[in-house]
């Protein structure tokens, strides 16, 4: 290994060890996570209010995703608290076949370094819902009644389709085989119910829509669904004072109240207001109000995360992409493999690439960084190779004739000559990266995609636009920044008009 290689390696190790952990927020303040539905948002805001009251600086990462993403983030330390349900803990997290008591759950969770508060009160179990009129006409009141109507089109949510306490085991328990059951996003499912394109879907028993859309909840007459009592899961590392604050609202929210809070949050898209409504009615908890989140500071924080994701991945891509491109500029099989492989990565849809990487690396910013790094490679590798092989033969010959060795030819002649093309590749990667990084929010890595993602989950158009416009503006800024870098790095002689 040459000294400069060793230096590169050391630099890389430095980047990885220092920058990546820094992406997860430092321990000076607490981070609350939530899943992608209204109730989780409201409970997240309530937790934020409780912790703020204790003097902590609290961030709420809204709508990070499904159970496994939140659980991964909690274990990985990128969030400290999130609302969860006992049934989900039992089935999905601890993968237990038997019913567990609270003590058993606490014992099992503590082995993972996670704690569980007392139950908040309500039971938000899964249920199947139908339009009330339709159910009445068909005489369906309980799940076993579906046996006589197996031709009804069903639209279970995608998560429910795959759950161990979800669609398939439920159908097996009741001995029902519905002819059509296609996965559909939760909110869209309600629209599909209204339009009649599906007749049955799963819902949470505290969903505001059950009331507002006049739906009937089918009785679980065989008692399939476990209890889904809301609790907060927290990292055992957080201060005892914080745990005490979370526990202080145990048993204070019943089902009708949760439905009411959910309905309020859904109509206003204001989760802070819904949390404040709770604190207003429970003065005993002692929280006056949750500090409203400042839209601009939130947007700025997301833009910051976004830039870190883009910056780190781009830096790595430059570090690896240019040497690969230099190798790929030489004719032969190795070059074909390099260009082929980087090209192949580019064809993998971004969401799929993120999904492929999650099982290995978890739902951490580093996963997003790796995915973005892989995406950034192709333009950089290809442009480096193109730039180098496009150098006029007479210039290559002149460099060789001078007696410069291969290394000096590369660094003093070839790379400077190829620099406009290489920088163009880096610019393309950077701009594409700003766009692709919005997908990072889908695996809980933050950034401006967070707003888009949350907006999608709650059909909040303003939020979607806010994230989308900010990402577009950021892409423009990055583009302008690189125009400046061009001026700085491309030798003046190459920016002059062609010779007379």
């Amino acid at each position: 290994m040459s000294p400069s290689r060793a230096k590169e390696g050391a630099l890389l190790a430095f980047l990885l060890s220092l920058l990546l952990p820094a992406l997860g927020l430092a321990q000076t303040h607490l981070t609350v996570g939530s899943k992608k539905f209204t109730e989780s948002f409201v409970l997240g805001e309530i937790a934020r209010g409780l912790l703020q009251k204790q003097g902590y600086k609290v961030t709420h990462k809204q709508g990070m995703g499904a159970t496994l993403i939140l659980w991964g983030a909690l274990k990985g330390g990128s969030i400290d608290v999130y609302p969860e349900y006992t049934g989900t803990i039992e089935q999905e997290i601890l993968k237990s076949k038997d019913h567990l008591s609270s003590e058993q759950m606490r014992a099992a969770l503590s082995k993972e370094g996670i704690g569980m508060t007392d139950e908040l009160g309500f039971n938000n179990t899964y249920t199947l819902v139908m339009e009330a009129d339709k159910a009445k006409a068909l005489g369906i009141t309980k799940i076993s009644d579906l046996k006589a109507h197996q031709d009804l089109p069903c639209g279970p949510t995608i998560e429910f389709l795959g759950r161990k306490d979800g669609w398939k085991p439920l159908m097996a328990k009741y001995g029902i085989a519905m002819q059509s059951a296609k996965g559909i996003e939760h909110k869209l499912g309600y629209t599909a119910l209204e339009s009649g394109s599906i007749a049955v879907k799963d819902a949470y028993s505290t969903d505001a829509d059950i009331e507002t859309k006049h739906l009937t909840s089918l009785k679980d007459d065989l008692g399939f669904f476990p209890k889904y009592r809301a609790v907060y899961l927290y990292r055992l590392g957080i201060p005892a004072k914080a745990v005490k604050a979370l526990n202080s609202i145990a048993g204070t929210i019943d089902e009708p109240e949760m439905i009411k809070l959910n309905a309020a949050a859904e109509s206003s898209k204001n989760y802070v207001a819904a949390a404040n409504q709770y604190f207003e009615e429970h003065k005993g908890v002692g929280v006056k109000s949750v500090e409203a989140t400042n839209v601009w500071s939130e947007l700025l924080a997301q833009a910051g995360q976004h830039l870190i994701l883009v910056g780190v991945s781009l830096a790595l891509a430059v570090l690896f992409g240019i040497p690969l491109g230099i190798r790929a500029a030489k004719p032969g099989a190795v070059s074909a493999v390099i260009l082929g492989a980087t090209g192949l990565i580019q064809t993998v849809p971004s969401l799929a690439l993120f999904a492929i990487l999650v099982p290995w690396l978890g739902t951490e910013p580093r996963t997003a960084v790796l995915a973005l790094f892989l995406y950034s490679l192709l333009p950089i590798v290809r442009n480096t190779a193109t730039g180098l092989s496009g150098i006029a033969p007479s210039l290559r010959e002149s460099a060789a004739a001078l007696g410069l060795d291969a290394r000096a030819r590369l660094f003093k002649v070839e790379l400077p000559l190829a620099s406009p093309t290489i920088l163009a590749g880096i610019k393309v990667s950077a701009v594409i990266n700003v766009g692709t990084a919005t997908i990072a929010a889908f695996i809980g890595a933050g950034g401006l995609g967070q707003s888009i993602q949350t907006g999608l989950a709650l059909s909040d158009k303003a939020l979607i636009l806010r994230g989308g416009i900010a990402a577009a503006v950021l892409a423009l800024i990055v583009q302008l920044l690189f125009e400046g870098v061009d001026r700085l790095l491309i030798p003046k002689g190459l920016r002059l008009p062609p010779a007379p």
């Binding site: 007479s394 002149s398 000559l417 002689g493």
Partner: protein, 244 residues
């Protein structure tokens, strides 16, 4: 002295240069001439060690050129190509001093050598800070010549150095080149397709055709004692061009 012993260059089945022997005398200017595709440029590249011959060897001042010492040999040879081959990202001065800086020549020596060369090649000193794109064709060739001469090479190879220039600039530079060659007193090999230029600059002329050596000697030899009909035809064609 440069000796070519049984040198040939084959691309697939075709011979760019058929096996030939040639001695290039020291301290003189030898002009390689011939119609396009005769192998004169290929031969020059072989001498410069830029491409390996298919057979035979090049011996420069008693040392045979091998792939191992090619880099070393190239540093003792100055090489100028048609469009100058100047690096566009470097100024004239940086082009000239590139190799000297690479091998760590002291800055003072570099400056002294450059001012010496700019006088020799009659390149204005205020042009040194300019980029190739800011220089005229003739100026670029002067810089290219300075670059080739920077490390005091034992021989100088030029591949159609005036080929890309317009006639006025060309004839001016021709005169300068003759003086420079004379002042240097070095072994010079010049590739050209112009018999007038070969005769004016060259002490010895070597005529090639389709990779083979047809005749070598002085301009007078070619005029009075052409080796065959091709030589006569080549001379006639060149003369009619001049007459036009």
């Amino acid at each position: 002295m440069i000796e070519l012993k049984g040198i040939s260059k084959q691309y697939g089945e075709a011979f760019a240069v058929s096996p030939l022997d040639l001695t290039i005398p020291s301290g003189q200017t030898t002009a390689l001439i011939g119609p396009s595709g005769c192998g004169k440029s290929t031969l020059l590249r072989i001498i410069a060690g830029l491409i390996p011959p298919t057979s035979g060897e090049v011996v420069i001042d008693g040392t045979a050129v091998t792939p191992q010492n090619a880099l070393e040999v190239r540093r003792r040879i100055g090489y100028v190509i048609q469009d100058g081959g100047l690096f566009p990202h470097l100024t004239a001065e940086q082009n000239v001093a590139l190799m000297a800086r690479h091998i760590g020549m002291p800055a003072a020596d570099i400056d002294a050598r450059i001012s010496e060369l700019s006088e020799l090649t009659r390149f204005p000193a205020d042009g040194l800070a300019r980029y190739p794109a800011e220089l005229s064709g003739g100026q670029r060739q002067r810089v290219s010549l300075m670059r080739a001469l920077m490390l005091k090479p034992s021989s100088l190879l030029l591949d159609e150095p005036l080929g890309a220039l317009d006639p006025m600039v060309r004839s001016g530079l021709q005169g300068d080149l003759k003086e420079i060659f004379k002042a240097l007193g070095q072994t010079v090999v010049l590739v050209t397709h112009d018999m007038g230029e070969a005769g004016y600059l060259g002490d010895k002329i070597v005529l090639l055709r389709e990779g083979s050596l047809v005749q070598q000697g002085s301009l007078e030899d070619f005029q009075i004692r052409p080796a065959d009909l091709f030589v006569t035809q080549f001379m006639t064609a060149q003369r009619s061009l001049v007459a036009l």
